[in-house]
């Protein structure tokens, strides 16, 4: 029993409810938000250290033991995800204190941002498939509110698409759960894994796993990413950053959990289907990132490329590649938050969205420009920034597994990422300055601080990879050996 495990979900939920009552006083809302975010980060670090000391921990809600009750399980993978999500969302929400319009703040912006964080953290920690569905819904409902907040014709149209696609995929999720429960008679992830291993992953179970694949692929933007560029490029900076940093990563996390813990028996599905989907995602993402001139679209297509790249790690399916994917997930949460905040800032400052409409911004906003350059290098995976470690390990895993085609596709995409980002940098920040110093909109330092902190974080993760390494190795070890997870959950009870 480790009640600390529920806190990453409990703290944001309670904060959200308290903030609902504090609607008239935005100031009080901000104070409480800061306190809650700091404690959230502290709790996440604590969980990671406990897991380091005691191994995988679990919390049975209400004392109902698995496989009957619902439980939260904390292993290094989920704890790392929770920590990164907490830090990133803290910085994004801190940024939004200064960048959110008053009318959005009045319409419960902060409470719903916290509900989103609660859903994300819950999804990372849960050890029960149905509970995963519930946490997904908490997260999605909050995101529906955030994406429609503020209105506007384009945004409402994109929100409709976003909501429709997610409602449909949630329905698929429910159907898959019903099939799964009807087949193996349990929804506890560890117990499902045991039962699937016992009966062998026959055609029926493989079909169910493919339904799960479709559901999570829709949420993650793997292959089924057609909804993503529109809905991620329409909301204002902080909201887009929250979405890009957290939402698709939860889908990626769920894919890793599903196919390393439960349905890891069918090589065809993992290597061929997921591998193909990952490569198609990379190609599609690259085409989009090069083709568009709207910086928000380019940023959104970069999200898709990253998802494809992480899924290569799953398709290679060895410990080294898992390690790379975990590193890359951590890196991607940070760098996508950074990218979307900078892009949001550029749109706010110039009032334009196309790269052709901006020029010479480096003279007006030098710090922002160099931060974008840092982001470019980080996204491309230039050492010593955070992207490098993940790419290196995925590369090592690919060589070890002999997946040279995946290796090539992954690294070729890095070049396209570099090109697409440099295109933004060169078009918007180089060239002749078109905004006079007198006319330029001031960019307050308070907004720059969270962006700069994210920038420091991406350098820090790259340089301090040595400190992160033991946690990431542990996460990859558990993924490669599902028995460890199962023992920790079902060890003390009859399975």
């Amino acid at each position: 029993m480790n009640n600390v495990l529920v806190l990453p979900m409990l703290i944001p939920l309670l904060t959200g409810f308290v903030l609902l009552f504090l609607r008239p006083s935005i100031r009080a809302q901000k104070m409480i938000s800061i306190l809650s975010l700091l404690s959230l980060v502290a709790v996440s670090v604590r969980i990671l250290l406990i897991i380091r000391g005691e191994g995988i921990i679990r919390l049975d809600f209400g004392g109902w033991e698995p496989p009957f009750g619902i439980l939260f399980v904390g292993d290094s993978f989920s704890a790392l995800m929770v920590l990164t999500a907490s830090v990133v969302s803290a910085l994004i929400i801190a940024y939004s204190f200064t960048a959110t319009e008053r009318r959005m703040e009045n319409m419960f912006f902060y409470p719903f941002a916290f509900f989103l964080v609660a859903g994300v953290n819950g999804s990372f920690l849960t050890g029960d498939m149905f509970n995963l569905f519930v946490c997904f819904e908490v997260m999605l409902l909050a995101s529906y509110v955030l994406i429609t907040l503020g209105g506007g014709k384009v945004r409402l149209a994109e929100s409709m698409k976003y909501i429709a696609i997610n409602v449909v995929s949630s329905w698929f999720f429910l159907v898959a759960l019903a099939f799964l429960y009807g087949t193996v008679g349990t929804l506890n992830m560890a117990h499902i894994s045991v039962r699937v291993a016992e009966v062998g992953q026959g055609p029926l179970l493989s079909a169910i796993s493919v339904v799960f694949l479709i559901v999570f692929a829709l949420k993650a933007g793997l292959f089924l990413y057609f909804w993503l560029p529109g809905s991620y490029s329409s909301p204002p900076g902080p909201i887009a950053a929250l979405f890009a940093a957290l939402l698709t990563k939860v889908g990626v996390y769920a894919l890793f959990r599903t196919f390393t813990l439960m349905f890891y028996h069918d090589e065809f599905i993992i290597m061929t289907i997921i591998g193909t989907m990952a490569v198609v995602t990379l190609i599609g993402g690259c085409l989009g990132a090069i083709a568009y001139t709207d910086i928000r679209q380019i940023a959104s297509y970069n999200v898709i490329i990253a998802v494809g790249f992480m899924m290569i790690g799953l398709a290679i399916f060895n410990e080294e590649a898992f390690k790379g994917s975990v590193f890359y997930l951590i890196h991607d949460m940070v760098i996508k938050a950074l990218l979307f905040l900078i892009v949001g800032a550029m749109v706010y400052l110039t009032g334009k969205t196309k790269i052709t409409g901006m020029s010479g911004l480096i003279r007006n906003y030098p710090v922002l420009g160099w931060l974008l350059f840092l982001t470019t290098l980080g996204l491309a995976g230039v050492p010593p920034l955070s992207g490098f470690i993940g790419k290196m390990y995925i590369g090592l895993g690919a060589v070890e597994g002999g997946n040279y085609f995946l290796l090539f596709a992954g690294f070729a995409s890095s070049l396209v990422v570099l090109y697409s980002m440099l295109r933004i940098f060169m078009n918007c920040f180089w060239g002749e300055t078109i905004i006079n110093r007198e006319d330029q909109r001031p960019y307050p330092a308070r907004r720059l601080i969270p962006i700069a902190l994210l920038g420091i974080l991406t350098v820090g993760i790259g340089v301090g990879a040595q400190a992160l390494e033991p946690f990431v190795s542990d996460a990859a070890r558990v993924m490669a050996n599902p028995g460890l997870y199962i023992d920790a959950v079902l060890g003390e009870v009859e399975s």
């Binding site: 409990l10 309670l14 809600f61 209400g62």
Partner: protein, 140 residues
């Protein structure tokens, strides 16, 4: 509704109390039998919705002057805190307890902490349903 709806109004005045009683009954019976906070809350909110349909919003607001959004938030918070209380007392999160007490009128009664949790659920359902109905009605 501008038509002559005397019958509807008269019936509603009586029926609302029957629905409310039934809602409370469902809520309480949920401890051992079918029912509980969610269904009880739905039935209770249906009484409120009936009032809103038959009489107009302003009239009902004079009688029931609550912000239903806040009721929903309050309910969810009650449920969450009842689970947190267990964690504070050193039990797993969401643990519930019960005991038998000799009360003056009721005699030997079983009291369970899960009722607090269910009350929170019921309040959340009432708050949400009424909020939904009210926001739909405003657009027309």
């Amino acid at each position: 509704m501008k038509e002559n709806d005397v019958i509807l109004r008269t019936v509603t005045r009586v029926v609302v109390f029957i629905i409310l009683t039934f809602g409370v009954e469902l809520f309480l019976s949920g401890h051992h039998n079918p029912g509980g906070g969610f269904v009880g809350g739905l039935v209770l909110s249906s009484a409120l919705v009936l009032l809103y349909v038959v009489f107009d919003i302003e009239t009902v607001h004079q009688g029931v002057p609550f912000d239903f959004r806040k009721i929903a938030a309050f309910g969810a918070m009650v449920s969450l805190l009842s689970g947190t209380a267990a964690a504070v007392l050193g039990k797993p999160f969401l643990s519930q307890g019960f005991g038998y007490f000799d009360l003056p009128i009721f005699g030997l009664t079983e009291l369970a902490t899960v009722t607090i949790f269910e009350a929170g659920v019921a309040l959340t359902v009432i708050g949400t349903v009424v909020t939904i109905i009210l926001s739909i009605s405003k657009d027309v």
